[in-house]
């Protein structure tokens, strides 16, 4: 029974990692943007959630109504103003520019909020749990996060495969130059893509803030986990990202069950093992 419990907790943790990774998966899949600032943007969203809840008295869940559009606007402006100019010169320009953005966000948050830990208070749901037959107990909040991850990916799939905008995203992802010849305004489309990616980053950030304490330096480890989930799942495959997150969560849960010090290490090792066997991840849909 212990192992079943561990696997369930690991799988739910995976939903959380998948949620971190959705925004990255989108920008990586559509514009091949290696966004080093992704983790810091998640943390930034948590801080925006903090300000919104403090100023308006809104419940953290509801604060997303304001956090999401703010992050959308930020994503649109970042892509339009900065990142679009970096997409033609290979790997280094976007890497460097997003490194710069990452450092600015981290230290900006440090200036404004200090190095202290913060937290979004959601109340009873944080600690509530469901008791299942067989002595299993499942936290309600991890279950909600997992459901949000699945719903987010499902809605993105609808966007990608059922709308004009989604068709344009897929076209640009497959072949940006040809898509432009067919009359797509790539730069504007990229700006929408990062904007939408940031909506999911906003959701991830607020849920992250409810789940654990956060500080300005919390970004890089979220980034690494998100990257691992995206790459394990395969480029351009949203359901793959969910599976990538679950693989990571399971590996970490199993590692932690063997020795608490091994949790993060086990996740990294699983990631490397998968990459060595399948350098493009498990289910790649787009070519790099």
């Amino acid at each position: 029974m212990d192992w079943i419990n561990i696997l369930i907790q690991g799988g739910l943790l995976g939903g959380f990692y998948a949620l971190f990774a959705i925004g990255l998966s989108m920008s990586f899949g559509i514009m091949r943007l290696v966004n080093i600032a992704h983790g810091d943007l998640i943390v930034l969203a948590a801080y925006v959630g903090l300000v919104v809840t403090e100023r308006t008295g809104l419940d953290p869940f509801l604060s997303m109504i304001l956090v999401a559009p703010i992050m959308f606007a930020l994503g649109y402006v970042l892509q339009r103003g900065l990142l679009n100019q970096t997409l033609t010169g290979g790997l280094l320009p976007p890497l460097l520019v997003t490194f710069g953005i990452s450092i600015i966000i981290q230290n900006g948050l440090l200036e404004v909020f200090g190095a202290y830990d913060h937290r979004l208070e959601e109340g009873a749901i944080e600690t509530a749990s469901l008791h299942l037959p067989g002595g299993l107990s499942i936290g309600v909040f991890p279950l909600v996060v997992f459901a949000v991850a699945v719903l987010s990916i499902a809605s993105l799939q609808l966007l990608f495969y059922r709308t004009r905008l989604g068709r344009a995203f897929r076209a640009v992802s497959d072949d940006a130059d040809t898509a432009e010849l067919m009359g797509i305004d790539n730069r504007k489309l990229y700006a929408y893509a990062l904007g939408i990616a940031m909506v999911f980053t906003a959701i991830a950030g607020v849920l992250f803030g409810i789940r654990t304490i956060f500080a300005p330096s919390a970004g890089p480890i979220r980034l690494i986990l998100a990257f691992e989930a995206v790459i394990i799942g395969g480029l351009g495959n949203m359901w793959g990202t969910l599976i990538g997150g679950i693989v990571l969560g399971l590996a970490q849960a199993i590692g932690a069950a063997l020795d608490p010090n091994w949790q993060i290490l086990a996740g990294h090792l699983a990631f490397l093992a998968i990459l060595i066997v399948r350098p493009n991840g498990l289910f790649p849909r787009t070519r790099d």
Binding site: V34, L96, S102, I103, P279
Partner: protein
């Protein structure tokens, strides 16, 4: 009578490079004698500049020439540092011998690591190298003999092996950092001027094209990766010899040993030998001027990186080359045409 023909010859040096030698040599002599004429604060700063420059030249060789954009070089800094602390501490080895072994040890570790990361390309390679160095750092924090999460310290007895006298010791450490910087620069410069350098420059310009012209791209990149890892490990040993303490967090810090170095190389000019010098100087000057402002200084550094990347994607030296065709460390060959000689009267 012979026809008057244009003769050609191949030249490697440039006028600027020949003049520069006469500037650089006295500067180097001045730096090497610095402990005798300057105060210890300045000497320490120049020592730090020296090892940052060495790290920057190595990353430049890796990313700028071999196309291996690694964000995991901190793995080798940490490995070199830990090798020094482990060999001198638990293994009781002489400190000089331990420093010499730290580099080869890091190079040796790079072999299994390269089997994993060399299967990856581009962004995947970058993320892969980062994850590998996280793994190495986490492993270091698991071993009790390495001090686990809190790390290790150098005992006074080990320091006395370098030299019993404190001033002599800091002089030796300074000359060590200066020496490694000159050594790394010489290795990179000579490598780039050699046959392999031609291959590397070709890979930098286009990997598929150089492969189709018969360059063994895998072998060339593999050699560069191992050599870079070994040199980075040696520098890591020297850095932590001066810091006296190492912990997984400090040894495997991506910000201290890779991000800062990438900034230097890219701001200065990637794929040139002059760029890392300029980038390192800008970084150190900014830090000395603004370090008191803490996070504001780091934000400014980030902003500068963004602006340089957008306005001068080849860095400051790249921008200068475009305008003035200036080369201080020429690695290429140029064809010089000599006008036909005047026919001599018989």
């Amino acid at each position: 009578m012979e026809a008057a023909v244009e003769t050609t010859r191949v030249e490697r040096g440039t006028k600027a490079s020949r003049i520069f030698v006469f500037v650089a040599l006295p500067v180097l002599v001045a730096l090497a004698t610095m402990p005798w004429w300057s105060d210890s604060g300045n000497v320490r700063l120049v020592g730090e500049m020296a090892y940052y420059l060495a790290l920057a030249q190595l990353w430049n060789l890796l990313a700028g020439y071999a196309g291996l954009v690694s964000v995991g070089q901190q793995a080798y800094v940490g490995l070199g540092g830990y090798a020094l602390f482990y060999l001198t501490g638990p293994m009781n080895m002489n400190v000089y011998l331990a420093i010499l072994l730290a580099g080869p040890f890091a190079g040796l570790m790079a072999i299994p690591i390269s089997f994993a990361v060399f299967r990856l390309r581009g962004a995947y390679f970058a993320v892969g190298t980062w994850v590998v160095s996280e793994v190495v750092g986490l492993l270091a924090s698991l071993f009790a003999v390495l001090g686990a999460g809190s790390g290790m310290s150098l005992t006074p007895a080990i320091l006395r092996q370098i030299s019993p006298d404190r001033d002599t010791r800091s002089m030796i450490l300074y000359l060590g950092s200066l020496g490694i910087s000159v050594f790394v620069f010489a290795v990179v410069y000579l490598l780039l001027r050699s046959r392999h350098g031609l291959a590397l420059t070709a890979i930098r310009d286009s990997e598929p094209a150089s492969a189709s012209l018969g360059v063994n791209t895998f072998r060339t990149k593999f050699i560069v990766y191992l050599a870079t890892a070994a040199c980075t490990g040696l520098i890591g040993a020297l850095i932590f010899l001066q810091k006296l303490r190492i912990s997984p967090e400090a040894g495997f810090s991506i910000n201290d040993w890779t991000v800062v170095v990438i900034f230097m190389v890219v701001i200065g000019g990637i794929g040139t030998l002059e760029g890392p010098f300029i980038g390192m100087l800008i970084f150190i000057v900014l830090r000395e001027l603004l370090a008191d402002y803490g996070s504001i200084y780091l934000m400014l550094l980030g902003a500068i990186a963004i602006v340089v990347m957008l306005k001068a994607p080849f860095g400051i030296w790249g921008w200068i080359i475009q305008r003035y065709d200036l080369q201080l460390f020429p690695v290429g060959r140029r064809l010089v045409l000599t006008p036909p000689a005047q026919p001599t009267q018989k």
